[in-house]
C-alpha cells in the first residue's frame, strides 16, 4: 500500500514536544496541586468546617476578594490605558516605560511591599502630601489595593499589547470613512477585538492578586477582621504547624482561581465562535 498509516504532522517532533510539555506541566503544576489536595484531605470534614467558618478567616476572604476585585477593575482601566499608549503613541523614553512595565515581575514582592509602604506612609514622600487631606494609604485597605495593582498590572498590559499591535488600521479607517465617531470606533470595533485578551489579562490579574503575599503584608497593617489577607492566614496556620488547615484554605483559593480561569476560557471560546461566524 502506498498510503502510509502514520498521519502527517506539520510540526516536526510533535509527539516528543507534546510529551515533554505535558511532563513539565505535570511536574511544575500538577504535582504541587496534588500534594496540596492530599494534605488538605488529612483533616476531617468537621475540622474543615470549623476552620472555614472561623470569622477571622471569613473576614480575610472578604478583605482579599474585595481588594482583589477593586484592584482588578483599576487594572482594567489602567492596564488598557497603558497598553494603548505604548502601542499607539511614540514618545521619547517609550522603550524605558515599556521595560518598566515588567518591573513588578522582576522585583521580589517583599521589596515591592517595603518600598510601597515606605513611600505611602505618613512620613513617606507621597504619604506626607496626603496628610493634609486626612488620607491614609499605608496600613489601610487602600494600601492592599495599591500593592495588588502594582503587582498585577503587567498581566493586563502584556496580554493586551500584542493584540493591540495586531489590530490592523483598516477597520478603524473604514469606520471613520463611514462616519463613525471616535467613541463608536472604540466601543464597536476595537473593544470587541481586544476583549478576549482583556478578559484573560483581567482574570490573571485577579487570580494573582488573590494570592499576593509579600507585597501586601508590608503595606496592609494586617489587622484581623480589617486588613488581614488570606495568604497571611495560610502563613499563620503554617506557623502553628497546622499544615492541613493551611492546605485546605490554599486549596479553596486554588479552586476559585481555576474556576475563574475556566470561566474566562469558556467565555473566550463563545466570543471566538461569535467572531468567526461573521
Amino acid at each position: 500500500m502506498l498510503v502510509t498509516k502514520k498521519s502527517l504532522r506539520v510540526l516536526p517532533g510533535f509527539t516528543l514536544s507534546l510529551g515533554l510539555g505535558v511532563f513539565y506541566l505535570s511536574l511544575v503544576v500538577l504535582l504541587p496541586a496534588i500534594t496540596l489536595v492530599l494534605q488538605s484531605l488529612q483533616i476531617s470534614w468537621d475540622e474543615f468546617v470549623f476552620y472555614i467558618t472561623d470569622p477571622r478567616l471569613l473576614s480575610s476572604f472578604r478583605v482579599t476578594f474585595l481588594a482583589a476585585g477593586i484592584a482588578t477593575v483599576l487594572n482594567l482601566f489602567l492596564g488598557l490605558l497603558l497598553a494603548w499608549i505604548l502601542v499607539r503613541y511614540q514618545f521619547p523614553g517609550k522603550k524605558l516605560v515599556d521595560t518598566l512595565i515588567d518591573l513588578p515581575f522582576a522585583l521580589p514582592t517583599a521589596v515591592a511591599g517595603l518600598t510601597l509602604s515606605a513611600l505611602f506612609a505618613q512620613n513617606g514622600w507621597v504619604g506626607q502630601l496626603l496628610v493634609p487631606f486626612d488620607i491614609k494609604i499605608s496600613y489601610t485597605f487602600i494600601g492592599i489595593i495599591l500593592a495588588m495593582v502594582f503587582t498585577s498590572i503587567p498581566f493586563v498590559v502584556r496580554t493586551l499589547q500584542p493584540v493591540l499591535e495586531d489590530l490592523s488600521p483598516e477597520f478603524e479607517e473604514a469606520a471613520e470613512t463611514l462616519g463613525a465617531k471616535k467613541r463608536q470606533i472604540f466601543l464597536r470595533i476595537i473593544l470587541p477585538h481586544i476583549s478576549p485578551a482583556l478578559m484573560i489579562g483581567v482574570a490573571l490579574s485577579f487570580v494573582r492578586s488573590l494570592g499576593e503575599f509579600g507585597a501586601v503584608i508590608f503595606i496592609a497593617g494586617n489587622m484581623p477582621y480589617e486588613t488581614e489577607v488570606v495568604s497571611l492566614m495560610i502563613f499563620t496556620y503554617i506557623g502553628e504547624y497546622n499544615y492541613p488547615a493551611a492546605a485546605a484554605v490554599a486549596m479553596l483559593i486554588l479552586i476559585t482561581s481555576l474556576l475563574l480561569l475556566l470561566a474566562v476560557q469558556l467565555l473566550q471560546n463563545y466570543y471566538g465562535k461569535r467572531h468567526s461566524r461573521r
Binding site: 476552620y51 472561623d54 477571622r56 506612609a121 494586617n222 484581623p224 480589617e226 506557623g239
Partner: protein, 341 residues
C-alpha cells in the same frame, strides 16, 4: 559528529568543576548553622567571632558559624522541613519542644542539657516611647487608653508578640485580682489599640521607627534598648513596667543534624560558650539579662528592678497557653473580635 564533540567537552567540563568544588569543600573550615529568632542579628554578629577565636585557641581548628534569622516559629518550621541547623537559639521553649515532638530533632530532655533550663539569658517585655514620653505612658494600664496607639508584631507569627500578649494578661491578672472578665476586657482594649501587626519583631521596629506609626512599641527589653542606642537616645525613651513576663531564651543542639554532620562537639561547645563570662558580658552589653553572678554586677544599672512572672506560673504549661489562647478560635482570636466591636 559535532554533537558527540560537544557532549565530550561538556562532560569533561562538568568533571573538572566537580573535582575543583570537592577540593574546595575538603579544605573549607567546618561550619555550623545557628538558627535564631528575628531580633538577635547584631548579638550573634558580635559573639560568633569571639567563639571562633576561642575554638581556635582551644583546638586549633577553624570554625565558621553561619546565622539564620526569622520569627522563631518560622525557623522551627523550616528545620522540620529540612533546614540543616546545628544549633537553635530561640525565644520560646515551645518552638524547641515541637522539634522534639514532630520528628525527634532534639532529645526530650533538651532542657537539662544546659544550665538554667537551657537558657543562657532572658529578657522581658518593655516599652519604647517617643522622646519626652508625650503620652505619659508609665505602665500597662496606660496602654488601654483610647488616645494611645501601639505597635507590636502579630502574636500569631511572632514569639516576641506572644510574650507581649501574655505580659498584658499577667499585669491584668494582678491588677484585677484574677477577675477573668476584667482581664479579657483589658487585653481586648490593648489589642484594639494596635496600629499595625507586622509578622516579626524587626518589622514592628521598622513600623515604629521608620514609618512613625504608633506612640509606643512593645518588644523585648533588649530590643527596646538596642533601638534607643542605635537610633539615638535623644529620640526615644525606655519605659520598663513594674510587672512583666519572664521571657527565657532557650537553646538546644539539633541532635539529628549534628550526628549526621559530625559537628556534635563544636555545636555543644558553642552553646556552652554562651554561658562563659566573655559571652555573658556581650549579652549584657546587648541588654539581655543574664545569670552569671559576677558579670551581672557590672551591668546592674541598666536593668531596672521589676517583678518578672513566668508564663508557667499563671497559665500552666506552654501547651495549655497555645491551645487555649493562640490556636485558631482561641482567646486571642475572640479578644481581637471583641476589640473590633
Amino acid at each position: 559528529m559535532a554533537v558527540k564533540n560537544f557532549t565530550k567537552k561538556s562532560v569533561k567540563g562538568i568533571l573538572t568543576l566537580l573535582a575543583v568544588s570537592l577540593a574546595f569543600s575538603a579544605s573549607a573550615a567546618q561550619e555550623i548553622l545557628n538558627t535564631s529568632y528575628d531580633v538577635s542579628r547584631e548579638l550573634f554578629v558580635t559573639i560568633n567571632p569571639k567563639f571562633q577565636q576561642y575554638w581556635k585557641e582551644k583546638t586549633g581548628e577553624d570554625i565558621s558559624v553561619q546565622q539564620s534569622h526569622a520569627g522563631s516559629s518560622a525557623q522551627a518550621a523550616a528545620i522540620l522541613q529540612g533546614l540543616k541547623a546545628d544549633v537553635v537559639t530561640f525565644n520560646q521553649s515551645t518552638d524547641i519542644d515541637v522539634l522534639h515532638q514532630k520528628g525527634n530533632f532534639v532529645s526530650p530532655d533538651w532542657r537539662k542539657k544546659f544550665p538554667n533550663n537551657a537558657s543562657p539569658f532572658y529578657s522581658t517585655t518593655a516599652f519604647l516611647v517617643r522622646k519626652g514620653n508625650p503620652k505619659n505612658i508609665k505602665d500597662w494600664g496606660d496602654l488601654a487608653r483610647s488616645d494611645v496607639k501601639l505597635v507590636f508584631p502579630n502574636p500569631k507569627t511572632s514569639g516576641n508578640a506572644r510574650y507581649t500578649y501574655l505580659a498584658a494578661w499577667i499585669y491584668a491578672n494582678e491588677a484585677f485580682k484574677g477577675d477573668e472578665k476584667k482581664i479579657k476586657e483589658f487585653v481586648s482594649k490593648v489589642l484594639g489599640n494596635v496600629v499595625v501587626f507586622d509578622t516579626g519583631g524587626r518589622g514592628a521596629t521598622t513600623s515604629f521607627v521608620d514609618r512613625a506609626q504608633g506612640d509606643v512599641l512593645l518588644t523585648f527589653e533588649s530590643e527596646v534598648n538596642l533601638i534607643r542606642k542605635e537610633y539615638g537616645t535623644d529620640k526615644y525613651d525606655t519605659v520598663v513596667p513594674k510587672i512583666s513576663v519572664l521571657a527565657e531564651f532557650p537553646v538546644a543542639v539539633v541532635d539529628s543534624v549534628v550526628k549526621a554532620k559530625g559537628t556534635e562537639k563544636v555545636a555543644t561547645e558553642y552553646l556552652n560558650y554562651l554561658y562563659s563570662p566573655a559571652a555573658q558580658d556581650v549579652l549584657a552589653s546587648f541588654f539581655y539579662r543574664i545569670h552569671d553572678d559576677k558579670v551581672k554586677v557590672a551591668y546592674a544599672k541598666q536593668f531596672p528592678e521589676l517583678k518578672l512572672v513566668s508564663v508557667e506560673s499563671v497559665f500552666g504549661s506552654w501547651k495549655d497557653v497555645n491551645d487555649k489562647h493562640f490556636a485558631t478560635g482561641g482567646i486571642l482570636d475572640q479578644l481581637l473580635r471583641q476589640a473590633k466591636q
